[in-house]
Assembly symmetry: C2
Homo-oligomer: 180 residues x 2
Amino acid sequence: MTVAPALTERSTRAAEIVSVGRRILEEEGADALTMRRLAAAVGMQAPSLYKHFGTKRAVEAALIEHGLLELGTALHTAVSGGARRGGGPVRRLLTAYRAAALANPALYRLATAGPLPREDLAPGLEDWAGEPFFLATGDPSRAQALFAFAHGMVVLELDDRFMPGSDLRPAWEAGTRVFA
Amino acid sequence: MTVAPALTERSTRAAEIVSVGRRILEEEGADALTMRRLAAAVGMQAPSLYKHFGTKRAVEAALIEHGLLELGTALHTAVSGGARRGGGPVRRLLTAYRAAALANPALYRLATAGPLPREDLAPGLEDWAGEPFFLATGDPSRAQALFAFAHGMVVLELDDRFMPGSDLRPAWEAGTRVFA
DNA sequence: TGAACGAAGCTAACACAGTTAGCCGACGTC
DNA sequence: GACGTCGGCTAACTGTGTTAGCTTCGTTCA
């Protein structure tokens, strides 16, 4: 369970579409990820996209795979990185989680908010990406609670839901202390 | 700060629109809350809605006010409800939070996910609704962390993001113990 | 009493979203 | 050489939020 699952295989053209889609997502935000916009960026007309992906959700599912893979990679290395790095596993996990999420906000939201198209995802990927929470806590329920805290912090920060201008490091610190 | 702020005043027609909108939201979900659908339900054409609300976001802001008011009310009574009820303030707060959120999932999401149109909200409402987290913890950073945990749990549960079929009570219990 | 005016409805229309139908050229295979 | 699939195209449909412009009704004011 410690090696990342392989992503769904795609033709080179499909892979190119996903890659361009990701660039749009990061550079222009989720609203810009439109079938027409995506098609134009890859050099075709919108309906032609449907020769490669059955629906927009399927394109998003491919992007979600990349998001989960990167997030999972960051969390696994953080948790398994031994005593060399500072703090216990919970602290390292939370630090890595926040950094990975804020590095690609749009991809993070796509991958973690809204319903998950599990049938379009590489098998085992979701479990693998979430495994570090169990590794850091040693208990399924605590893992879920810790995941909820981390996701809540990130999503509330991205949505600017905390009091405007408040420094969030103490809140992360409070959560870290409480869960460690 | 302990009495709920007054909501934005509205004409009777505008109030009716909001009330109908809320019914649609709860009975048919967020996707069904369409300007045409809403207008039809209230007995008019879609463009006529713009005589009462400048934009769909404004209608949603009115609904958000109701959501924040109800959520805040539930949290305040939970926190201020003395030793009569079981557990400490954190436990009572989290229990009330989950119950209020799951009672009206669509309204909860509208009120807590995505960017908040603060300029369209009754002044003080947001602060007041979030105050119970401070009252239960006595510390701003712990309050933010606890809020993040609660919101994360609810939103992940609503999005069915936990392993399918998992009982979430232990996770809530773990969070409760950790923050109490 | 009548003129003026604002509030609140209407229809028509626009731009843009995802998506479908149907056509067509290039390519590989029997 | 025929055939079929792959991957592109255009045209078009439905549904979204929203705007422009017209009308109608009730109120107000000279």
